[in-house]
Amino acid sequence: MLLSTLLIKIYYLYATSLACFFSNIVILNQLWVITDIQLIILAIAITITFFNILKKRRNKIRKDTFTNYANLLIEDAILSDDIKGLCTAITLKKYNAVFNDEAKKSLFLDELLFAKNNISGEASDNLIFLYNFLQLHQYSLSKLGDNKWYINAKGIQELTIMNAYEYTDKISHFVNNTHEEVRIEALIALLHLKGNEGLDFLNHIKYPLSDWQQIKLLRELTLINITEFDEITNWLSSTNDSVIIFSMRIVRRYRLFHMHEQIKNCINHHNPKVRLAAIITLKDIYNENTLNYLKEIYTKENLTNQLTIINTIKEIGTVADIPFLLKNLYSPNKILILDILTAIAQIDSEKFKQILSYIDVFPYRTMLLQVKQEFNI
């Protein structure tokens, strides 16, 4: 009885409210208009979907066919002893037929860039000659004037790969671009095209360099074979912490042992990430005093940095460091204890055996057995 009363109440409420709201015929008409609009958009969406599928299929067929042609030309260029002669042999008519088509031009350029990225020496120079002969540098250059960031970035990337030194100034305008992808491509381009001078940006860069950007820049450094870093001392005292960290990556990559003192100064930096990078770097360029400096800062450091210091001792430590390890063995952090035990086992297996013989308490016993198994002691 109660339930039926409740149900009737609900239906009455709903019915009256609906009647009140939907009694207006205008709203009914509007609903149909909205539906019509939706159906029109739907028809457009479905048409575009099928158009897209067909376009992608056509492009794929076209790409497969054209890539064969492009690769033949590129192979000829790579193997050619007389690239000028080869280019002259490409008739104007043939050239126009292929390169007046924007899509084909783009496809050819992609293939050319791919080939250029994978070869070096004279063959690489031939590809650059072909690129310039076919006026593709103008095509890349035109991308710098586009108002879309990704087209700018692509244009810069193309000019960089093709060693377009004459456009260095134009590219340099992009180093402060609002879009980070364009900025990093411009920085890589300057590094590639100007060599050492291309690193000048590190003296005045305002924005931070992300880890990803640093990895890209480091790879470029390796490719262009720079080995002199005259201004690295300035970079290590930069107000931009990411510049300091990047500089330390350079120190590690090139094993700049003479930078030990400057890196040592960074272990007192206010930013723990900089200190961490300094500890890691010191491990790679260590001298007889390195571990003393690290042991001095150990107690003041956060856990991550303490673990890194212990790991450094494990890698480069000697029996002289065992007392320090033993002193810190009774840490409240168990991961730290495990790492200290690992370091002891690595440096002095006899000492480790001694510890193994008298510690029989969980979890230390498990840690000891784990390390024992790991080092086969």
Partner: protein
């Protein structure tokens, strides 16, 4: 005008406002996601992932794969994980007290032996039985942890305790990852300099009917099973539109439990996975975000539209019902645990937008829809339906639903084009037409059952039996 009429008037306008807001939300999500997908695709053209594969500075990652009674697929699945292309990687399989022969199979095939292993119990879990490593150096990245059964969240917490790397990638062990999945998922953690990236997710796709060989996806096909096909459409909509839009807003609340990466330190500081909820994936991310907001630290939850992970979708109503029931309970539990954030400006986008959106349009939507249906039946019973309005409304809402799905299909074709045959698209469009009639009511019903189960304090995961990727390339 009597009081019933006034209440009715406000009630109907409240429902109208709710529906309009919901539709506006969908339109906003659809449009807003375009920019994010476009940006990602353009960035991808400029990206050379080999850089990350070669670099010693790439983030170190531990893959955590909990397994419970996965005996018939586990060997293949582990093989698939071992073939992943990434340098700084360890793979941890957590056998969560399986009753089948999962562990025995792993021991036999991968030549495992028990090792002495200390782990720091930073998050409390059920007891560990053994940790195994392989005698074979080829499998040196592999660790198998055998523990007492405690559920998926507990197994993942064990994985977090065991993991030695800085980032964890949590996956369902039966998922198939693309070979470059970890490379792509690792990149967002290196891209930001001012914000801390606490989590990253990628698109999960449906693997039913796809050709799989040796744990690798060989050929993509649209699922032949209707239920799986609807879910393929549903996932496309949710991942390609919804999550990309929320990611752009930095308001993403969910990274799929099937595949997501997290910063281990924040996971531990936030307390790890909650073992008392069945929605441990959404709850963890919400808690991590809440923790960062309360710490006043800048952070990002990143999402990439690349299809990186392929999973088997339920192909029967029984299993699907259990899954959706659990999702509904997980959502409600999470919202309840973090109710403090509801329209709380202290939590920024999280409190003012993400949480309310989930509350009104994820939690309340099925309830409102269900009540609406009941009232409609009553109105029919008392012959009080204004049929011309009903038909106009129905066609309008139905065409919107179809349009939204069609837009998702368009975005998929324009971006990744995984289902690239015109016949596949026709099938997907037909599925989009049928979905609101056959699939959606079932999902609503499962969510309602989930809500009732939660009220009755039913806290079961619900068995998710898999048929396994048995289809081989001919």
């Amino acid at each position: 005008m009597n009081w019933q009429l006034i209440v009715g008037f406000f009630f109907s306008y409240a429902i109208l406002l709710y529906s309009l807001l919901l539709i506006c939300g969908y339109i906003f999500i659809a449009i807003y996601s375009i920019g994010e997908i476009e940006k990602y695709l353009h960035k991808n053209i400029l990206t050379d992932y080999r850089l990350l594969a070669e670099s010693a500075d790439a983030p170190s990652i531990s893959i955590l794969a909990p397994a419970y009674n996965e005996g018939h697929t586990i060997v293949e699945n582990v093989r698939s994980l071992l073939s992943i292309y990434y340098t700084n990687l360890e793979i941890i399989i957590i056998n969560d007290g399986s009753k089948d022969d999962s562990l025995e199979k792993l021991i036999a095939i991968y030549d495992l032996y028990p090792i002495e292993y200390f782990y720091n119990e930073l998050i409390q879990t059920k007891e560990i039985i053994n940790v195994y490593k392989s005698h074979n150096p080829v499998y040196k990245r592999l660790k198998v942890v055998d523990k007492k059964n405690g559920g998926k969240a507990d197994a993942l917490n064990m994985g977090v305790n065991i993991a030695i790397n800085d980032y964890i990638v949590c996956i369902d062990v039966d998922c198939i990852l693309e070979q470059d999945a970890i490379l792509k998922l690792a990149k967002p953690f290196m891209e930001y300099s001012n914000e801390r990236v606490i989590a990253a997710g990628g698109v999960v796709r449906i693997a039913n009917s796809c050709d799989v060989e040796n744990g690798k996806l060989i050929q993509i096909h649209l699922p032949t099973n209707f239920l799986a096909r609807v879910q393929a459409l549903e996932y496309t909509r949710a991942f390609l539109l919804g999550r990309m839009a929320w990611s752009r807003l930095n308001g993403l609340l969910l990274i799929s439990g099937a595949f997501g990466a997290f910063e281990k330190e924040i996971v531990i500081e936030a307390g790890g996975y909650n073992t008392k909820t069945v929605g441990e994936d959404i709850e963890l991310l919400v808690r991590m975000r809440r923790y960062m907001e309360e710490k006043n630290e800048k952070y990002v939850v990143s999402f990439i539209p690349d299809p990186l992970c392929w999973t088997e979708a339920p192909s029967s109503f029984k299993i699907l019902g259990r899954q959706r029931n659990r999702w509904a309970r997980g959502t409600i539990e999470t919202l309840k645990i973090h109710k403090k954030m509801f329209f709380n400006p202290r939590y920024g986008v999280l409190g003012m937008l993400s949480y309310p959106y989930w509350f009104f349009f994820e939690f309340l939507a099925p309830i409102i829809e269900f009540i609406g249906l009941l009232i409609f039946i009553l109105l029919c019973f008392f012959n009080l339906v204004n049929w011309s309005f009903f038909i106009a409304l129905l066609v309008c809402v139905y065409s919107f639903a179809f349009l939204y799905s069609s837009f998702a299909i368009l975005m998929e074709v324009a971006s990744y084009n995984q289902y690239n045959k015109p016949t596949d698209i026709v099938k997907l469009l037909i599925t989009a037409l049928i979905e609101p009639i056959f699939f959606h009511p079932f999902v609503v019903w499962s969510a309602i059952k989930g809500t009732f189960d939660l009220i009755r304090k039913k806290h079961t995961w619900g068995e998710m039996s898999r048929t396994g990727f048995v289809k081989k390339v001919k």
